[in-house]
Amino acid sequence: MTRLLRAIAVPAALLLAGEIAMRAAGSSSDALAPPSDVAAALAALLADGEMLRASAETLASALGGLAIGGGVGLLAGLLFGAVPAAARLFAIVVEGIRPIPAVALIPLALILFGFGFRLEIAIVAFAAIWPMLVFTQAAVAAVDTQLLDVARVLRLPLAARLARIVVPFALPRIFVAFRLAFGVALIVAVTVEIAVNPLGLGYGMTMAQQTLRPADMLAYLVWIGVLGFLLNVLLLVVQRTVFGRFLPRGARP
C-alpha cells in the first residue's frame, strides 16, 4: 500500500502543480492544457469511440507488421541458429541492412503503397525482423548440445530436429523476443502515423495539434502511454505464467 502511494505521489503532485499553474495563468495555450481538461478530453474521446477506433487501426498495423516481419525474423533466426554456416555467410548482408532506420524507408514505401495500412505494415515489418532474428538465433544457438547429439544418434531429419528439440527448448526465449518485437512494432506504427500516414493514434494526435486542440492532443499522448504500458504488462504476465519456469534467470528481463 505504501509502495503504491509512493509510486503515484510524484506524478500526482506534478499534475496538481500543472493544474494550478495553468488555471492561475488563465490564458489558453495552443500547446498545453490543464490536466483536468486532458482527462475530460480523454473521457470524451473514449466515449464517442474515436479513441478505440484509432487504437484498433494502430494495433492492426502493428500486429500485421509484426506477423510478417516477426515471421521472417523467426524463420531466419531458426535457420541461422541451427545452421551456423548460414549465419556466417549472411553476416555482412544482415550487418549492412539492419542499421537502416525503419523510418528511412517511409518515402520508398510511400511511393510503393501510397497512404494506408500497407505502408505502415511494411515499415513495421522491416523494424520487427531484427529483434526477432537476433533473439531467436541466440535462443536456438543456446540449445543443449547433448540433446542435439541424441538427435543425431537417432538420425532425426532437420525438420524433426527443429520441431521436436530446438523449438520447444527455445520457445520461452522466443516469446521474450516476441514481446520486445511487439514493443518495437507499436512504437514504429505510431511513428509512421505521426510522420506521414493518415491512420490511427499518431494521426489523431497530429490532427489535434494542427487544429489547436491541446487537450485532445495530450489525451492521445496519455492514451498511447497507457496502451503501451498495459500491453507490455499483459505480455509480461503471459511470459511469467506460461514460460516463467523454463526461462533461465539471465533471460528474464
Binding site: 509502495r3 509512493r6 509510486a7 503515484i8 505521489a9 510524484v10 506524478p11 495552443d30 500547446a31 498545453l32 556466417r88 555467410l89 549472411f90 553476416a91 555482412i92 548482408v93 550487418e95 549492412g96 541492412i97 542499421p99 537502416i100 532506420p101 525503419a102 523510418v103 528511412a104 524507408l105 517511409i106 518515402p107 520508398l108 510511400l110 511511393i111 510503393l112 514493443g183 507499436l186 512504437i187 505510431v190 511513428t191 505521426i194 510522420a195 506521414v196 499518431g202 494526435m205 497530429t206 489535434a208 495539434q209 491541446p214 492532443m217 495530450l218 492521445y220 499522448l221 498511447i224 502511454g225 503501451g228 504500458f229 507490455n232
Partner: protein
Amino acid sequence: MSARRWAWRAGSVLVCIALVLAWQAVADARLVSPVFLPPPDKVWRALQRGMASGVLLQKLGGTVLRMIEGWAVASLLGVGLGTLVGASHTARAWLGPTLEFLRPLPASAIIPVAIALFGLSDAMVLGVIGFGALWPMLLATVHGFAAVEPRLYEVSRALGLSRAAVVWKVALPSALPDILAGARLGLTVALVLAGVCEMLAGRDGLGQWILLSARSFRAPDLYAGVVLFGVLGYASALLIGAVERRALRWRG
C-alpha cells in the same frame, strides 16, 4: 582459427556481392519498375554525384550534427538526472515507478507536442531528439546504480568516503556498462528521430532529402539517401562499440 574466420568473412562478402549482382540483373531486366527499384550502379552514381556536388554531403552533415547535438544534450541530462535519482535510495523508491511507466512511451509521440510548443523549428528538432534519447540513458543510469554490488557500498562506508566520492569513484564506474548500453540505444533513437523530424519540419538533412527524392520519383537519389542512413547507423554503432571496448578494458 583466424584463417578460418577470414574464409567465412570472404564467403560472406561473396554472398553480399552475389545479392547486389542479382539486384542489378532484376533491375536491368525491368522485372520491377525502375521507379521503385533502380539498379545499384545508378544508385552508386547518384551517391557519387551527390557527394561530389556537395549537396548530399551537406544533408548528411546536417543529420549528423542534429543527431550528435540532441544525443549529447540527452547524454548529459540523462546521466546527470540518472545519477541524482540512482544515487539516493529514497529517490529511486519515489520516482522509479513513474520512470518505468514512461519507458514504453514512443519517443516520436512527443513530436506533435514539440511542434505545438516550438513550431517547425530547429529548437523543436533538438527538443524531440534530446527528449527521446534521454530515456534510454536515464533508465540505464538508474538501473546501473541500483545494480552496484552492495558490498562495494559497505567498503566505501568503512573507508569513510563522502557521498560524492562514492558516486564518482564507485557507483559511476560500476554503472558504466549500463550507461554505455543506454548511450548506444540513445544514439539509435537520435538517428531515427532526426530523420522523422527532418521529414516533418523540412529541415535540411537526409530525412528531407529522401522524402523530396521520393516525391519527384528520383529513385536513385532516394536509395542513395537510404544507403547513407544505413552507413550512419552502422558507423555510430561501431563508434560506441570502440568506446565500450576502451572504457571497459579495466573489467578484463
